[in-house]
Amino acid sequence: MALAFEPITGRYATLTLDGRPCRLFIEEAGPADGIPLLCLHTAGSDSRQYRHLMCDPDITKDFRVIAFDLPWHGKSNPPVGFHEEEYQLTTRTYTEAILAVADAMDLTRPALIGCSMGGRIVLQLAAYHADRFGALIGVECADHQTSWYDTTWLNRPDVHGGEICAAMVSGLVAPQSPQEFKWETLWGYMQSGPGVFKGDLYFYREDSDFRDRTPMIDTSRCPLYLLTGEYDYSCTPEDTERTAASIPGAKAVIMKEQGHFPMSENPEMFRQYILPVLDEIRANR
């Protein structure tokens, strides 16, 4: 009997990022000529968060869903010499990685969905690179976040990194989400390399106050959708509504009974919110 493979295929490629070769893992599903939908994972996790979108025929009949692991994440390597470095993601390096992947894959005005820090960078892309994208979807997206806990706890020898990263974010999963998917989401955090979540939070907490950028966003050049779960206390519904109010034309929806990881913590419920957005993107393409 033939093995029932999922429709996702993954490959590796080396791109030059921040002046150095980086071996990246990129996976995708859907037709080669489908509308490209580039997916950005959350801080301290990887592209597996998008497996449900990639295995959803209602999405892949029209969309070529592509997700990649940032350097240091998932199956992408850290750069050579990482063992002597402290990892820190910045707005510059994050933006460069996204555009480099889109260019290397010859994606023409892809739609893009990013969650959490991936939602935050959506605003940077909307402000400075709107013409590069067909539509932008910021999940758990807001213009800034004030620091509210000491991230050094995430990477120190007397606290297990995998355990603390998962325990810190476990409450960001809505209590209604299925246990199976809650724990699969947390497993991604448990597997993250030492200091990677903390290094991502440098971007998220310190290097991405985009309140000066939201007035630059012109949604007539690139539509912007914001989706935030009501149980998200990292990017709260109020944060997203404030952000949307500062961007004319931005469409914001607060998702009931969802947390910070809707595509992976409650994929069935997320369909109710993401399918209408994708329908609109397809209709306007």
Partner: protein, 127 residues
């Protein structure tokens, strides 16, 4: 729920925690004491190798503890609802919301955060 009622709920921790083998195992490297407060009512919890061995209600004149989790009694009430509302569904969420505070030596708390969170959630699970 008053502070006294929160303390009564916490008094059940030994029965709620010690019978759960997986939870005790998760806390097997934690031995020590922490304080839980609801308004002005202090509850001292003593853990030995993941088992809750003593829960005592204050006020105390001399009582050592490593870390403290302090919240309003109304916050604990909402925290223990079967399906808590956003912001009251998690101790870290309550901290972010500003209705709870984590104080003292946070190292043993952070090193055992999942365990401590599940201990504090156990009155919800146990009804």
């Amino acid at each position: 729920m008053s502070g006294d009622e929160v303390a009564a709920r916490l008094a059940r921790l030994p029965e709620l925690v010690n019978g759960r083998e997986s939870l005790v195992r998760r806390g097997r490297f934690l031995s020590g004491e922490f304080m839980v407060e609801a308004d002005e009512v202090a509850v001292h919890v003593k853990v030995h190798e993941g088992r809750v061995v003593e829960v005592a209600k204050g006020p105390f004149r001399m009582r050592a503890w490593r870390f403290a989790i302090r919240a309003e009694a109304q916050a604990w009430t909402r925290f223990w609802e079967p399906m808590p509302e956003p912001g009251y569904h998690d101790v870290i969420a309550m901290t972010r919301l500003g209705v709870a505070r984590l104080e003292g030596d946070l190292q043993p708390l952070m090193a055992n955060l999942r365990y401590v969170k599940e201990v504090l959630e156990s009155p919800r699970i146990g009804g």
